[in-house]
Symmetry: C3
Subunit: 294 residues, 3 copies
């Protein structure tokens, strides 16, 4: 039966696994209640392109509710034959997503940590393994989990504002990016850039992000929508089937690695995050954020 | 015994495997009849450098006959102690090689598909695993299988004509580059460039190919021969034994992967190419090529 | 018990393995006699930064004595809680390190080769796997094993003198860089640059080394110390624990590979180096060096 905390999204195996295996016969579970207003989803049926706009102020942090809504929305699009491509972007000024919601990782129960981490994994498995063309229109800063979402797309366009930065800065907070964040990063920027950037917890301003290959191109903010549409059209010009099989060939090894170690990865997260020293640094970080705001 | 369709070239294991294992005791089979005029082979015994010039108009497509002749010629050079390096280039204007011959993949028998695919594998195993220094003098466009041949060499020099392009454009035809095309590509340009280029089926004009590392340098057409000779001399200045062991160390993992999955890869090719939808897109593609010509 | 030739450094498992396993209960062995003046070690307790200056004229070659001293010194720093970072540099003008001492590989006993090779492995395991921040201040040429030491650090700063070169030039000497030299190189510069550079045994002048990513930046000689200090401070600004776990995540696969094949690697080295043809080329190379000097 479905373990507690399992998102009831898995009636169907994720896209990248379809060819290889039978859908697991999970019992249909009643849908978990979740807010349904953190992400605006619009589908243009004529072009087959959906846009998912993150609208969870102040900073689009990846809370359990946000992640659940993201996964369910993406799943619906994945199953909709009218939809072939997805653009993810932000409806909040100056921020794409601030990454994992630290309040979900502070002072909560073991069960909560497990449920939260499973949702983070699920988000990545579905996005990195999506059969659709995925383009990130990065119109604001994008640290940590926000960066992971961008890295998981097929193409990244960032607004050329040097005040916007992107990177896996977990080390700055005293925590460690999980191996599958790292694998995704290495697949985009290579081993050396990833090693240095992860150890320093670097947040790269847009021009540096372009130089290191974290994003594929920069555009002025007012050109972002036009450019994103043009890139999407270019990718959609390819026959879906060949493109999907090619994408799966490139990403399967890294996706399979998390699938094979998923429960272990959850246990690692729980035992790491439950340490008093880690809880303390997260509390200090939250205090700092509050003061900054105030 | 030798399976039907097996090229009778394997009296000796390929170069890359020599150190690791005993030659398999395959029975000597009579040579398969094959045309012997699609590739002009010249060996300069003073320098130890052979040149293989593809002369199979109109586009040097990799037919079963072409591949068989290529493998036998390469094998002869590999066994010739007077030969230490090979240059591959084209004798047909404006085209290096158009890649796999689509007529071999359309409306043929399962046995034919198996024989053809085994020949494609054999070409790659012998070229990517060659003990000799291999340099591609890319003097024309080089899509798909033509690109693979260039990628399998130690060094790639391309004529700086922006009308000449190179890339693994299989996805454009609705087909998928096999995993060992992909492995070879990733080893040259890295994961990110390969992922994007393979999904888009990109054909990169010469200047872009240089920028992405698909080729090592560009030269004006009239300098190609001189430059190729100079590069070959530089590589031949190294002691063969150390260079060969180093090359094998770099390429063995990827070569071994096909050797371990060779029959499976043939079956995959057959079942993919036999699909009515794939046959249909290949027929459409051939029609398009005919119209273009006419 | 400790095999003969084993450096008695392993009372504690190397840093990179600490989290994963219990320290092996090796018997305490009396310290092997070793010279103690080839490396000047200075620790600035206020900053937590140690400097190891190679002072083994004429060329800081990596003899058994040098390697033993290096490992013991590094081990002491690793165990010293006051030390968080190490800078390696040279006190000999114009040379960082000339690499493995060829006299240790010529005309010696099998036992000696085994002891020497184990010391080379130990140096790499400890340096590449160090928990401390490691920065190479490359103030001179750095071929072969000298290059490996630089590649094993977290960051490389080189003096911008184009007369100084760096690279794994083993192939030039008719020998082959071991797989873990290659793995370390690929992790820094990627597969393609490594393949070409290793096969050609290239020594890259400083500007080219920067272009290929072998070193992270170039500075004028008079700015080297200041710049190295600034880089070290930047890396030390990160919390140790998160940085160490991140470093281990990036390097563990490659470190584990040598640990798993260590004895086999020693046997390979012995049988390779014992070949008469290899002994002959090493003798010729030493003759050439002597003539050059004289």
């Amino acid at each position: 039966s479905v373990p507690p905390g399992m998102l009831p999204l898995c009636h169907r195996p994720p896209a990248w696994g379809r060819a290889a295996r039978q859908p697991p016969s999970l019992p249909l579970a009643p849908c978990r209640a979740f807010s349904n207003n953190k992400i605006i989803v619009e589908l243009d049926e004529s072009s087959g392109v959906a846009t998912m706009k993150f609208k969870s102020p102040p900073v689009n942090s990846l809370s359990l509710d946000f992640l659940t809504e993201f996964c369910i929305s993406l799943e619906k699009l994945e199953n909709n034959r009218a939809c072939r491509g997805v653009i993810i972007t932000s409806a909040v000024p100056r921020i794409f997503s601030s990454g994992l919601d630290i309040t979900e990782m502070c002072g909560k129960s073991t069960e909560h940590y497990a449920e939260f981490w499973r949702a983070v994994q699920e988000m990545w498995l579905r996005l990195y393994g999506s059969n659709m063309v995925t383009v990130a229109a990065v119109n604001g800063s994008s640290p940590a989990g926000g960066c992971l979402m961008a890295l998981s797309c097929d193409y990244r366009i960032m607004v050329e504002n040097p005040k916007f930065s992107i990177g896996l800065n977990e080390a700055q907070l005293g925590i460690v990016a999980p191996f599958w964040f790292k694998d995704t990063f290495v697949n985009v920027v290579g081993h050396r850039v990833a090693e240095r950037s992860l150890q320093l917890g670097s947040l790269h301003p847009a021009p540096e992000a372009l130089k290191f290959g974290l994003v594929d191109e920069l555009v002025p903010e007012e050109k972002l929508q036009e450019k994103t549409g043009a890139v999407m059209a270019q990718w959609l010009a390819l026959p879906d089937h060949a493109r999907q099989l090619t994408k799966s060939m490139m990403r399967k090894a890294v996706l399979d690695r998390l699938v094979a170690h998923r429960e272990e990865d959850i246990q690692n997260f729980i035992s790491f995050i439950s340490k008093e020293s880690i809880q303390k640094s997260l509390r200090m970080y939250m205090e700092m954020l509050k003061k900054k705001k105030g």
